[in-house]
């Protein structure tokens, strides 16, 4: 037997899932789509059941691919019973989707979540009345505290076995008349939806269902057009709006019958937005919170990385000592293998883990949408939207989570621009290059100058890209979730999913890339590599030996500094490079091609085409920025 969880964003559905699923859950895609779901096993009354966490959607209208897939999945034989999670503190909201759920006519149990929250807001919900209205069991619960989960799953188990169907929602008499005529006309038409639902979808103008029906029974088109026309005349509104307001009307009616609003207790959390979104103090807190977040991540990372790297260095030395000739092919490849492994460890463990845990925390507390609210106006000046600020902020730590976080942007254009720009944000690794080369030899003021120049170039690129790719999105529409103290389990499992993705998909490629480069190096291809990069290094006035460190820098950005010493034959850069070359090199390294780990994540998140576009774009920008920096540096020195 399989149970599906459905609910609107922020209803606590994922919290419920995490409470029962543990870490053995697996993600999958609906075939042929990027819409993902998560599945796990749960033991109920001695039986092992599958539990599927479907993507959170606000409705089942089928207006986007996620909703369409959810409908298809729910009505397929794969699911025996659906648990519809509702936020008891915002019942009329969630009930509009429940009405759509009831239309589908599949066995359902209602999980009335966040009863504590409702209580705090002085809301009393008449559970028995709701049960009678929808014709399905209603289980009050508090998922975050693990309360009510057992009875919920036991009830779902019984409903699934007995295939008990809920009541069909009944709409106004005129609508019902059209529906029964349509159902009659549709006789013999096959669909994954029940006949009544097909009629409803046709009436509200669902194009996909219409195409499916017409391919089987073309004569329906004429009748449907007549119904829609007369409905429009009767109600003075388009049919789709009529059906929608019928649903909302019914949801509101249900809500009115079951909710008793008592006195609302004003809590600390209600006042929090007055401070955190204050026109002036809001920004002060924004800076403080983000600064604190970064300090914490760096502090933790800085604590873990050196001993970890030291361990790998020792391992490397020990392994090399096993060979009589450590410049042979096998020892060289072994070293590269270890470097690939340690590269992953050095990126994943020290910085990415605290980063993702912290990010998950900020997300679950409900602060990130507030950041978007505060920054929307400023980002619009760059031709972007408030939400795009999140990847930028993250990029300063590491570009990998920055790219992952572009998922919060719905729009493909926004995702591309934000991803491209966040790869130019100087991450911790590039900080090492800027500091090791410019700050160390030429002073911190010039290093700061490079940072400011970087931000300027990002802003300029944003402006240009947003002109090139026109903005079709209408602007910000964003729900601000209630501030909540997240459960440790929810934050941990969110971070775990993201880390796992990196470990499983990006890390192996990093290791392979590292080994491949060492093979190239062993066969002394470096001369040819330098020649390959020569046009670029010549243009920027750099010695030809920078070719190899630049190519290896793609693997990990720090390598472009470490290997520069090897390539030029001296770790004292003042001896081998002049100040103009140092600045030009540092600027070029900051902008050029994202590191391999970032590229892999871009490929995974946005596709191969966008990865190549971003590689091309950043190379172009790096060259232009390098030339500007070179000209500028020639004036000062």
């Amino acid at each position: 037997m399989r149970i599906a969880l459905i609910g609107q964003p922020n209803c606590g559905k994922s919290t419920l899932f995490n409470q029962v699923a543990g870490y053995k859950a697996e993600t999958g895609n609906f075939s042929g789509t990027t819409v993902t779901f998560t599945e796990s096993k749960v033991r109920v009354l001695g039986d092992v059941l599958g539990v599927v966490d479907l993507p959170g959607t606000y409705s089942l209208a089928g207006t986007n691919p996620a909703e369409r897939e959810v409908i298809k999945y729910l009505t397929s034989n794969a699911v025996d019973v659906v648990i519809n999670v509702l936020d008891a503190s915002h019942l009329s909201y969630g009930l509009s989707m429940t009405v759509e759920m009831l239309e589908l006519g599949v066995p359902v149990v209602i999980a009335l979540n966040m009863m504590d929250e409702a209580d705090r807001l002085g809301i009393r919900v008449d559970v028995e009345q709701l049960k009678a209205l929808v014709g399905a069991p209603v289980i009050p619960m508090i998922a975050s505290k693990g309360r009510g989960i057992q009875p919920l799953f036991v009830t779902a188990y019984h409903v699934g076995r007995e295939k008990k169907l809920p009541h069909q929602p009944i709409y106004s008499t005129d609508i019902e008349r059209y529906l029964s005529s349509l159902i009659h006309d549709l006789e013999g038409v096959r669909s994954y939806l029940n006949p009544r639902e097909v009629a409803i979808k046709l009436l509200e103008g669902d194009q996909e269902i219409l195409a499916d029906v017409l391919s089987q029974k073309p004569e329906v088109a004429e009748k449907l057009a007549t119904y829609q026309k007369s409905l429009k005349v009767d109600r003075g509104q388009s049919p789709e709006w009529v059906i929608n307001s019928e649903r909302i009307g019914l949801a509101d009616k249900f809500a009115k019958q079951v909710i008793q609003q008592g006195a609302r207790r004003i809590t600390f959390r209600d006042k929090l937005d007055d401070v955190l979104l204050h026109p002036a103090f809001g920004y002060v807190f924004l800076v403080l919170i983000l600064f604190g977040f970064f300090q914490l991540v760096y502090a933790i990372g800085g604590l873990i990385e050196p001993p970890l790297m030291g361990l790998f260095d020792q391992l490397e030395v020990w392994l090399l000592s096993l060979f009589t000739d450590d410049s042979g092919f096998i020892p060289q490849v072994t070293v590269a293998l270890i470097q690939g492994i340690s590269g992953g460890v050095a990126i994943v463990l020290p910085y990415l883990v605290p980063f993702l845990v912290g990010l998950g925390f900020l997300e679950d507390v409900g602060y990130l949408p507030r950041v978007a609210f505060l920054m929307d106006a400023l980002m619009h000046k760059l031709g972007l939207h408030g939400k795009s600020i999140v990847p930028f902020i993250l990029g300063f730590g590491c570009n990998v989570p920055a790219i992952m976080s572009t998922r919060i942007l719905e729009d493909k254009r926004e995702r591309f621009i934000s991803a491209a720009l966040s790869t130019m944000v100087p991450c911790a690794a590039r900080l090492a290059v800027v500091f090791g080369l410019v700050a160390y030899y030429l002073g911190p003021v010039l290093a700061l100058g490079i940072y400011l120049f970087d931000l300027f170039v990002i802003a300029l690129t944003a402006k240009l890209l947003s002109k090139l790719v026109p903005d079709e999105s209408p602007g910000l529409i964003l729900e601000m979730p209630v501030y909540r103290v997240p459960t440790l389990k929810a934050v941990a499992s969110k971070a775990w999913w993201r880390i796992r993705e990196f470990v499983v998909e990006a890390w192996p490629l990093l290791i392979v890339g590292s080994v491949m480069l060492s093979v190239l190096n062993y066969f002394d291809v470096s001369r040819y590599l330098n020649i390959l990069v020569r046009p670029l290094s010549w243009l920027l006035g750099l010695p030809s030996q920078v070719g190899v460190p630049l190519i290896f820098g793609v693997l990990r950005k720090e390598l472009s500094l470490v290997m520069l010493g090897q390539a030029l034959g001296s770790m004292d850069f003042a001896m081998v490079l002049n100040p103009v070359q140092m600045i030009t090199y540092a600027v070029f390294v900051v902008f050029y091609v994202p590191c391999l780990a970032t590229m892999i994540v871009i490929k995974k998140e946005l596709g191969t085409k966008m990865m190549w576009q971003i590689i091309g774009l950043t190379t172009l920008i790096a060259t232009l920025a390098g030339l500007v920096a070179r000209g500028f540096a020639m004036i000062i020195f």
């Binding site: 409705s59 909302i248 529409i477 729900e479």
Partner: protein
Amino acid sequence: MNLLDVPKGKSVRIVDFLGGKSVFYKLVQLGVSPGRVVKVLRYAPMGGPLMLDVEGRSVALGRRIAGRIQVEVVK
């Protein structure tokens, strides 16, 4: 009168939305639908979005969208 004409702290009833279908759907999903009474909680500075209270939930809307939402004073 549209939503942008409403001062902070005042409640109004939504009458109509002048704009595309997809945006309309998104608004409806968040409860910003004709007939609902909403309260303007705050405006972000520098022409930023505004924040509404919709049945106890907070929803942020960019000014371009807010300007297309027709409202009336609640008696």
